[in-house]
């Protein structure tokens, strides 16, 4: 699949959940508690797209398909897009911009504190996702964008912490996240060793290139 056609396709795919949500809203299919339904829906899709974004690098390394990385920014920005919808739903439909209760929530309710922190951390990553910022930040860009690991952990904890009894769904997210993060640990090690091995070879036998 060429990246040229792939990008618009992934873009449209990422908009499908929003379309579904709007469709449910318009047809009255959000159920007796629509605000709760919108909150859960946008929260679910934030987490899912966050996990998909985090899957790009391991998948690329496992399959050797380098082009996959070209979708990563768009996926990450869509995770942020759904996070914005999620946060806006909370601010507007749940709290009606009542700063007093919002502050109380953020300070007193751990799952909201954590969700809020994850959202705040996403903002600089979204802002610095452009080519210009990548260039300007240079090596520091990569360091900054490692914050996505923390965002993933905070996001899953946010979900785990608000559930009353049935931990099955948040546990599935937690396991997937653990696998995606785990894949990076040995790989980081392995790839560094491979790279140094290659460097040594090319240094020892430069004429063979």
């Amino acid at each position: 699949m060429s990246v040229r056609y792939g990008k618009p396709l992934v873009f449209l795919l990422c908009l499908v959940p929003l379309g579904v949500l709007i469709g449910r809203g318009a047809s009255g299919a959000l159920g007796p508690n629509p605000v709760e339904a919108i909150t859960h829906f946008t929260g679910d899709w934030t987490l899912r797209l966050l996990l998909v974004t985090l899957a790009v690098t391991p998948l690329r390394r496992l399959t050797g398909q380098a082009w996959l990385v070209r979708f990563r920014r768009m996926l990450g920005l869509f995770a942020f897009f759904y996070a914005v919808l999620h946060f806006t739903t909370y601010l507007w439909l749940d709290r009606f911009f009542d700063l007093g209760t919002i502050a109380e929530d953020v300070l007193k309710r751990p799952y909201i504190t954590i969700g809020f922190a994850a959202f705040v951390l996403m903002v600089p990553l979204a802002i610095t996702s452009t080519q210009g910022w990548i260039r300007r930040l240079g090596r520091r860009w990569k360091t900054l964008h490692r914050a996505v690991y923390a965002i993933g952990v905070l996001g899953v904890l946010h979900y785990l912490w608000l559930v009353k009894a049935d931990l099955l769904e948040p546990a599935i997210y937690a396991i997937i996240l653990a696998v995606l993060l785990g894949l990076r640990v040995p790989w980081a090690d392995l790839s560094a060793r491979l790279r140094s091995a290659m460097r040594r070879r090319s240094w020892m036998a430069p004429e063979r290139r």
């Binding site: 959000l30 007796p32 508690n33 439909l93 309710r109």
Partner: protein, 319 residues
């Protein structure tokens, strides 16, 4: 063919039970030309509610609120009934597994006349009243439900509790075939709840057999559930099979699972937050998505009637 029948007999009592339970199939069969009349069933229009049979001679009650009731659709499609699944929409989807007939409730413990009582007996021997109550869930949403039922005290007296009976314990059916949610140990099945004797005898406390004038839909806790309107919804245990009189405070499922979040008393109290969310306001189901939340009142607005039960108690400690 229209057979007039006395109003105080339930359709379930005049129709052989095996036919009554399968009446939808008969109705469908009749549409495709198989003789309904031959079986002798009085044809009734299919109801949206699963139970769908009118309870006769329901009396109005001065305890009812005049607030507009939540729609039948919302009351029957947004349920916390983990025995039928943990999503709000699950209980309606899994309601067909539960068989509320025949149904027997065992009453035992500290009482002079322990025994069993069947649902038919319950429906015919206690005067059924309509009680339109506010229901406040611990998850900070609320409804107004037109219950049909009778004071729990009426049933309690029949079994003659002794002076040792300080509490009343309740137990939900345990049967994973009828309650598929019990196949996973989400909660410590069977669900248990309890009340202090004075709470149980309070005239506001009812055992509910129906809502909107009809038998309880399965997803709302058929055929018999508790309703204690000044406490969070989880106290109002559903599909009861056992009522026991005890001397000591009986175990309550949520309290045992997370004692710092769900107390034994569980009185609605805006001054005591759930550790993870505020209880000061709630969303009224049916208000729509641009409506603001409403202020939660102490004892869910029933303070005038019940606050004296807790005189001298520290409600922040005994939450």
């Amino acid at each position: 063919m229209l057979i007039k029948k006395p109003a105080d007999i339930l359709p379930s009592e005049i129709t052989p039970q095996q036919f009554w339970q399968r009446r939808r199939e008969f109705l469908k069969a009749s549409a495709s030309g198989i003789g309904l009349a031959a079986i002798g069933l009085a044809g009734t229009a299919p109801h949206r509610v699963l139970a769908g049979d009118t309870i006769p001679n329901v009396r109005p009650s001065p305890f009812s609120t005049d607030e507009p009731p939540t729609s039948l659709e919302d009351i029957t499609s947004y349920n916390n009934f983990y025995e039928l699944g943990t999503d709000k929409t699950d209980p309606k989807a899994n309601a067909r597994f539960l068989k509320p007939r025949p149904w027997t409730v065992t009453v035992d413990g500290e009482c002079a006349a322990p025994g069993e009582i069947g649902i038919k007996d319950i429906l015919s021997s206690f005067t059924q009243e309509e009680r339109i109550y506010r229901l406040r869930c611990v998850e900070a949403w609320a409804m107004v439900v037109p219950w049909v039922g009778f004071p729990l005290g009426d049933l309690i007296k029949r079994f003659e509790p002794t002076s040792k009976a300080k509490y009343v314990a309740f137990e939900t059916l345990y049967d994973p075939e009828q309650m598929p949610g019990q196949k996973r140990r989400v909660l410590d099945w069977p669900y248990r709840e309890g009340l202090r004797m004075d709470e149980a005898m309070h005239p506001l406390t009812i055992l509910s057999t129906g809502l909107y004038g009809e038998l309880l839909p399965n997803q709302n806790g058929a055929p018999l559930r508790l309703v204690v309107p000044w406490k969070y919804g989880f106290k109002s245990i559903k599909s009861i099979v056992r009522i026991s009189f005890t001397e000591k405070e009986p175990p309550a499922t949520w309290t045992r699972m997370q004692a710092n979040e769900y107390g034994f008393y569980a009185n609605v109290n805006p001054a005591v937050d759930h550790p993870r969310w505020s209880q000061k306001t709630h969303r009224m189901i049916g208000d729509g998505w641009l409506a603001k939340k409403r202020e939660t009142l102490p004892f869910n607005g029933y303070g005038d009637q019940v606050a004296e039960l807790y005189a001298g108690m520290d409600l922040k400690r005994f939450f």
